[in-house]
């Protein structure tokens, strides 16, 4: 494995008396496709929420590319190059596909209220971003949907656009929350093929929560298993799948 780009050290998050996370240590290597699995309520989404700045951890640290990021606000974490997606895609329904992608680049000149009324100041940047966005959408076969409203898209396309809108910002690490949930088996496989392609072509890192192990295990390099807020097991997909502790955690419930 290469050097870790994302490190989580002894991370804990308590809600009152509930220990959603209780001392989790793990690392995500650069250009890795890493899985995070575990039964319902094991703390997977809480882990994502702490890493992306939704919650302040009760204890522990999060390091990203040599910088400590726990305690930052979600928008600051995003600007560092860490993008998360949601279990249910959260695109902006009243915007078109192009606008959804154009929204994400940070520090746009036209986003400042005083420059926004003066078109000439940001026109060039806007056109440049639009060309970049169209190129990205075309590259992944979504060129025809530029003008579509997000609500007209299929679930799989929504999930792809959620990922693509991070690409335009040069984000390095993606945290995907159940990308294959509610998607047909073949589409799910396409989605994971797309993720591998992004890793190979763009050098991105993926950290993925997934319940559909039959899809996930064929595509990831390494898997962490959470159970009751603690790390239960880790290893290569086949090692984890044959770990008796993991089998017990899944069947024991």
């Amino acid at each position: 494995m290469t050097k870790p780009i994302l490190e989580v050290k002894d991370l804990a998050k308590y809600f009152g008396g509930v220990k959603a996370l209780d001392g989790v240590t793990l690392e995500v290597p650069e250009r890795g496709v890493i899985g995070l699995i575990g039964p319902n309520g094991s703390g997977k989404t809480t882990l994502f929420n702490v890493v992306t700045g939704f919650y302040v951890p009760t204890r522990g640290e999060v390091w990203y590319a040599g910088e400590r990021i726990d305690g930052l606000n979600p928008n600051e974490v995003f600007l560092k190059g860490l993008v998360r997606t949601f279990q249910i895609p959260r695109l902006f329904p009243s915007l078109t596909v192009l606008e959804n992608v154009l929204l994400t680049p940070p520090r746009q000149v036209g986003e400042r209220v005083l420059t926004a009324p003066f078109r000439s100041k940001w026109e060039e940047q806007e056109k440049e971003l639009a060309r970049k966005a169209v190129a990205l959408l075309r590259k992944f076969g979504l060129g025809e949907y530029v003008r579509a409203r997000v609500s007209e898209l299929s679930a799989a396309h929504m999930k792809m656009i959620e990922t693509i809108r991070g690409l335009i910002t040069d984000a390095r690490v993606y945290l995907l929350d159940e990308p294959a949930a509610g998607v047909a088996y073949t589409t799910a496989r396409e989605l994971f093929t797309f993720i591998r392609r992004l890793r190979d072509e763009e050098g991105l890192t993926f950290f993925i929560i997934e319940h559909r192990l039959e899809v996930l295990m064929d595509f990831v390099d390494y898997v962490y298993v959470l159970h009751n807020g603690r790390l239960l097991s880790e290893g290569k997909p086949d090692e984890v799948m044959s770990d008796p502790k993991v089998i017990e955690a899944y069947i024991g419930r």
Partner: protein, 355 residues
């Protein structure tokens, strides 16, 4: 039955109210239509502007002419009547200063009020702002230096030095409509810009916008600053037009009236807000011309008017949620770039998509 009807006079008075209310409606549309912030305290910022203009002008006039009487006393009001219009430079200067200060002060109050409400949802923001508006009114009702329940009167009209009152009114309506034009231009420009895109994103899903790196609190505070500032300007324009202000001009029903304009016109569309304001102020003006000629009625016409507005809002929300002028997609130069790209790929014959 109608007495001789001065059509041009009617247009001038309608135009003035239309201008003032359309500025309010456009500013509310920026807040609620584009950003999704339920401002139920709109009237507070309108009132701040009006009271700022009123107090600044009456105290300034009295100070310049060394009148010791307070502006809310009889001597004060007589003195104001005597000295108002005596100096064009003073009247216009006060008017300009009020507009600038009205924008800044109302804007700052709006900006400050976002902070306590950052961590709560739209419902709580609405309640807090509503409560703030009522509080301001109660304060004004009881604060003697601002005239308490009687308010302030004798605010010098900026064109009081022009002897012909008709010409004065006509000049003023041009000023008001000029401010409306600037407001609308600004609102349209920021709507159709990357900033407008951020606003709509915040409205659609503020959590997702936050995760896409947008500083949602700053965006909201900015919008509330601009929206409140615009409302402040509308208040200043109202104060100079009416030449007097009192706390009962700023009851919560005024906020509701502005909401009605935005909903009727179409939430999320600035031009729609102007259309909504035009319709409702038109009906109001017609009613003020007709009502005195109806004699004694069984039910006060004003009550009927409010009942209709109330039920109209519910009906529009239920059966025409987009309003008269529905929201349009954002227009930025991005689409020009997309079009030229599409043309290129068509001419190149590659068919566009690689995959």
């Amino acid at each position: 039955m109608l007495p001789s009807f001065d059509a041009f006079g009617f247009l001038v008075s309608w135009g003035t109210f239309l201008g003032i209310y359309a500025i309010l409606a456009v500013s509310l549309n920026l807040e609620v239509g584009l950003t999704g912030m339920a401002n139920f305290g709109k009237v507070a910022f309108y009132g701040i502007g009006a009271y700022l203009a009123a107090s600044l002008s009456v105290y300034a006039v009295l100070a310049v002419y060394h009148v010791a009487a307070a502006p809310y006393t009889t001597e004060g009001i007589i003195a104001l009547g005597k000295y108002g219009g005596a100096s064009p430079a003073l009247d216009l200067g006060i008017f300009a200063a009020s507009l600038v200060l009205g924008f800044i002060i109302a804007g700052c109050v709006g900006y400050l009020l976002t902070y306590p409400t950052l961590r709560v949802g739209p419902a709580f923001l609405g309640i807090t702002l509503l409560a703030f508006g009522e509080l301001l009114r109660i304060f004004l009702l009881n604060y003697q230096p601002l005239g308490a329940s009687k308010g302030l009167s004798g605010i010098p009209h900026p064109f009081l030095w022009i002897p012909d009152p008709v010409l004065r009114e006509r000049l003023y309506v041009l000023v008001v409509l000029g401010f409306l034009a600037v407001t609308l231009w600004f609102a349209e420009r920021i709507t159709n810009s990357p900033f407008g895109r951020v606003l709509k994103a915040v409205r659609d899903d503020e959590v997702a916008a936050l995760c896409m790196g947008k500083h949602v609190p700053r965006v909201k505070a900015t919008v509330l600053f601009i929206g409140s500032g615009m409302a402040g300007v509308a208040g200043v324009l109202l104060a100079f037009y009416m030449s007097s202000v009192n706390p009962n001009m700023f009851v919560p029903a005024v906020t509701f009236n502005i909401w009605a304009m935005v909903i009727l016109g179409g939430m999320g569309n600035n031009k729609g807000a102007v259309v909504g304001a035009a319709i409702i102020t038109f009906v109001d003006r017609i009613l003020t011309f007709i009502t005195p000629n109806l004699g004694i009625t069984i039910i006060t016409p004003d009550y009927v008017r409010w009942m209709i507005v109330g039920i109209l809002i519910v009906l529009v929300l239920m059966f025409m949620p987009g309003g008269l002028v529905p929201e349009k997609p954002i227009k930025t130069p991005a689409w020009e770039a997309v079009e030229s790209l599409e043309k290129e790929s068509k001419e190149g014959g590659s068919g566009g998509d690689e995959a």
